[in-house]
């Protein structure tokens, strides 16, 4: 049994220069991906990536600490707040927000109890649509 094709005798088939590259690429990609997934799931990878991170953190720690000290001292000399000062203010603001939220909750409860205790048809809050 022969396959039907739309190709007419004498017709010219266009040649996509990238098609052969794509085929070769796709053939290799799957195997490469599988190998890499196996590698990242190995103890060897965990150990290597952990060691790299640890080396970076250990090596950069003295510089980070020195930079931090210099920055704090410089900002202090200039009379400007440091990162720690900003962080402290931000935390205090969050605490104020929490207090405000507590007040909001109390107001909501008071409003709800007022509406519940009001006689029908008087002062009932219109439900938002």
């Amino acid at each position: 049994m022969s396959e039907k094709t739309n190709e007419k005798p004498g017709s010219q088939e266009s040649y996509d220069p990238f098609e052969s590259w794509r085929k070769a690429r796709d053939a290799g990609m799957e195997a490469w991906a599988k190998t890499m997934v196996e590698y990242v799931n190995s103890d060897a990878y965990s150990q290597a990536s952990g060691a790299m991170l640890d080396t970076y953190l250990t090596g950069s720690a003295p510089f980070r600490e020195m930079l931090e000290k210099i920055m704090v001292r410089a900002l202090d000399q200039l009379g400007m707040p440091s990162r720690a000062d900003f962080a402290s203010i931000a935390r205090r603001l969050t605490n104020i927000e929490i207090r405000l939220d507590d007040l909001d909750a109390k107001l909501d409860r008071m409003e709800a109890s007022r509406v519940e205790s009001a006689p029908p048809g008087t002062g009932r809050k219109q439900k938002e649509s």
């Binding site: 010219q12 990609m29 890499m36 649509s129």
Partner: protein
């Protein structure tokens, strides 16, 4: 007889394709476009209410609150117009809310699961109830968001939670051989305290690298080849652009929460063993009584199915269902077939329990 000719069009199209590539890689797609309004904020967290499109009488009575992971933007739930879970649910008559955690700063490095589940969530939920006028609500947690919703649901079972949807939830860490992140963060190789001492929070770049390194060839090479292969198809380019915009916009994870995730969960599996203690309260999963749907992505390499499939056996819920679906961690909710598979299933399950 056929003969081959050199296809000049392929070569002539290269400059146009390069321009498209440059546009896609150099710009941000318009994502998270569904209209919404902020109704509550605390620190970096914001509770949004999506503007309903279905008239109030025809809407489901019980509102739905979406809680996404801590280290990614929640925009994936509302990726792009015409392909958005949020848009889909609004059109199906739900009153939809989103709790966006925001991006933690250095001042938030001590925030932990206790802060998120017992400080932020109850307050946001109180506001949700006040706005919706309904004492009951549904929760949908995705990825780390489902850790938070599960903890909340177990610690506050009488707070009105009626339905809990747990999407690709990393909850059970007992099968360490199947969880790549568990290998990488093993105490033999990964010093969590050293990382947090250096950065305060877990940097977004490290989280992004970790997620991509699980499948390095696909993420660093294959993904871009896929774009190049389809660069003449505007529909696929738009979809790729939206996803790329989301994937490359990660946020740091608060140090305290990251520490708990690694030590209490990845290493010690405390949640599933009912040994996790949040602000002095033990998280007993048997106390979780809300109707539960666990959604498992069968090809999930970030949260393998073994991390979610044991949840229904641990909880006290009577009405519980597990929905397994072919696809990956993100693909089941944001992939091209999500609107035909995952979303309608969630809608059908929730609709039956939301009036």
């Amino acid at each position: 007889m056929a003969s081959a000719t050199f296809d000049c069009e392929q070569v002539n199209a290269i400059p146009h394709r390069l321009r498209t590539l440059q546009d896609v890689l150099g710009t941000r797609a318009a994502i998270a476009q569904t209209p919404k309004q902020p109704i509550w904020t605390l620190n970096k967290a914001t509770l949004y209410r999506y503007i309903p499109v279905v008239p109030a009488p025809k809407r489901h009575r019980v509102p739905l609150l979406l809680v996404f992971a801590l280290m990614n933007r929640p925009h994936i739930l509302d990726l792009r117009r015409g392909h958005s879970f949020v848009e889909f649910m609004i059109n199906r008559g739900y009153d939809v809310y989103l709790l966006d955690w925001g991006s933690p700063g250095i001042e938030d490095q001590d925030l932990d699961f206790g802060d998120y589940t017992l400080e932020y969530m109850p307050r946001a939920i109180r506001k949700l109830k006040a706005i919706s006028g309904c004492r009951e609500f549904s929760l949908l947690g995705w990825c780390i968001g489902s850790i938070l919703t599960t903890i909340y649901a177990a610690l506050r079972p009488d707070d009105g939670l009626r339905n809990l949807i747990s999407l690709t939830a990393p909850l059970d860490f007992s099968n360490k051989e199947s969880i790549t992140f568990a290998r990488w963060t093993d105490e033999k190789y990964f010093d969590v305290e050293k990382v947090l001492a250096a950065f305060g929070n877990m940097p977004a770049e490290m989280i992004e690298y970790g997620a991509k390194a699980l499948k390095p060839v696909e993420n660093y090479v294959g993904n871009f080849l896929k774009l190049w292969d389809n660069i003449d198809d505007p529909r696929l380019v738009d979809a790729w652009h939206a996803m790329y915009t989301w994937v490359t916009d990660n946020i740091p994870m608060a140090g305290g929460a990251f520490r708990q995730l690694i030590i209490d969960l990845y290493r010690e599996n405390r949640l599933m063993r009912n040994e996790l203690v949040i602000r002095g309260e033990r998280v007993d999963l048997k106390k979780l009584r809300a109707n539960l749907m666990t959604v498992i992505a069968e090809d999930d390499h970030i949260t393998p199915p073994c991390q979610s499939e044991t949840l229904p056996d641990q909880v006290g819920s009577v009405d519980k269902e597990t929905f397994r679906i072919p696809g990956g961690h993100i693909g089941i909710m944001a992939g091209s077939r999500a609107h035909q598979s995952t979303w309608p299933h969630i809608d059908a399950w929730l609709a039956a329990r939301s009036d």
